[in-house]
Amino acid sequence: MKISLTARILLWGVMGFGFTFIYLPLVLVVINSFNKNTSFAWPPTGFTTSWWGKAAVNEGVRDAITRSAVVALSATFIALILGSLAAAAIARYKFFGREVISLLFVLPIALPGIVTGIALNNVFTNFLGQLTIFTIIVGHATFCIVVVFNNVAARYRRLGASLEEASMDLGANRFTTYRLITFPLLRSALLAGGLLAFALSFDEIIVTTFTAGAGQNTLPIWIFQNLFRPNQAPIVNVVAAALIIVSIVPIYLSQRLTQEKVN
């Protein structure tokens, strides 16, 4: 395709602006994690690495990160199972009410998080009595299912049913077909969906605020409690900076995997 020079300049310009826009606050976060002054005025007056040391030994952070990881893994696990089951049904079968059910699987993300949050909170506090780590997991799994569902359903659509039909024509039953043909083809969609679900769950704050009990701090809740505290805010920046750095490699790898499968 021919692209005119002005169009090229425009595109490069927007790319530059876009990436600057996206990374400017993140660079600020990293700089502030070394900022001596806790009020984060600009420009920073001095630098120190002490916050990184303090963050490493901070018990609250470690407890919060562990809990977030547990919640995210559990929610992703549930979502992978339920999401792929639902995607298989919707993508491969026609039945009455299919469109309505498809819509149902978009709702947890399409409806504002605060509505989901207060709805779950209302049910949990009135019928279960208490908010625990399980209520957090239930809340997260609900929107993680949607993410996995979308990815897997999209992959089903792209694959078409021909391979599966061929396999069954050759005599394999449904389970064998799934195990040997469908699942390997779905794997990278499951991985992409799972990673996105994990990321969403790990950073989720709105629904979590309403489904976490006293003392049940996930990382975002811990951040929320410490974000404005003068002595803790730099540690929050350290945690955020660390998360960004730690996540770059797995994200890149997963992208490579998804790309290869598609091509």
Binding site: Q130, A214, G215, L227, F228, P230, N231
Partner: protein, 391 residues
Amino acid sequence: MRNNKVRSYAVILAASTLLLAGCSSSSDDAAGGAYAGPVQDTPGTINVLAWPGYAEDGTTDPNVDWVTPFEKETGCTVNVKTYGTSDEAVQLMQAGGYDVVSASGDASLRLIYGGDLQPVNLDLIPNYADVFDNLKDRPWNTVDGKNYGVPHGRGANVLQYTLGKVKEPSSWSIVWEPNSPAKGKITAYDSAIYIADAAVYLMSTKPELGIKDPYALDQTQFDAAMALLKQQKPLIAEYWSDYTKYVGAVQSGSITAGTSWQVIANVLNGTKATVGATKPKEGATGWSDTWMISSKTEAIDCAYKWLNHIITPSVNAQAAEYFGEAPSNSKACALTANKDHCKLYHAEETDYWSDVYYWKTPTEACLDGRTDVKCLPYAEWVKAWSSFRNS
């Protein structure tokens, strides 16, 4: 055979009816009995719901901690959660999961009548004997002769101003009048109870309205207070309920004056003097806080131990000094690091408190005793505040 079956069904039916009757939540549980004691050494975990600065555990400042010593001494584990407004406290206590709460007068009665608190057996709290007499058996913590907690301390909502940017104000007019020198950089408390602060100002500027108690407002008086708030809105930079966010905003210069707590001023003045705080001539709203025990706690012994610990003279002194309020234990005055603390906070006086209007929950029956008019209950305050904040 059949008789046995019928009998066993009857037993099951009776048992389940009793069970259901016991399980049904009833707000009459408020009248339930207090713990008879004695307080055992059972280990447990208590979730403490506290105003910021009341139950410091070292996370704000490693040198400020009266929770860890308690944990070491008693073997009870303490998780502290702070809240920003009394409304938050009421909601969190109703949702459940907290064993102990430091409640202001505008939350305590709501919780008592809602069945969320249990009466406290003061015989099990030895330190109670030393509490100032004029803080004992007050209407916001004692109902029908039953005590519901131990007092923590009291204070006024102060007018805070940034040194060097605002001259020391003697009046609340700096936050209410359109020609304020700090216009655009003012803050106000983000809760419906702040309407009472408008009423306090009107008590001085519009005496013809006849407001005697800022929590007893009839429709005319209430409308005047809301009009004052509307007049104030363009001057406001942000409304605050999170005290740490307030600290950051003052440090960054986006707020230079507004209603505040002494603890916020103390934190801001930590390394160098940044702000001043005063009680202006019109008086101020304030609070008198009580530590209370949830009706659903499972760690009753730890809860009682906490109540006794927090009003120990040395701990009460630490807490009152860190926050910046008058302590509740008369023996605490001798133990404060600053020997003039109690004088500074008027702990042993009565005059200072005559124009401090402690937070309490407005009811339809006017709190100032008027019977010829109906006053607005707090639910109406909340509705009007919500509408005002979104208009």
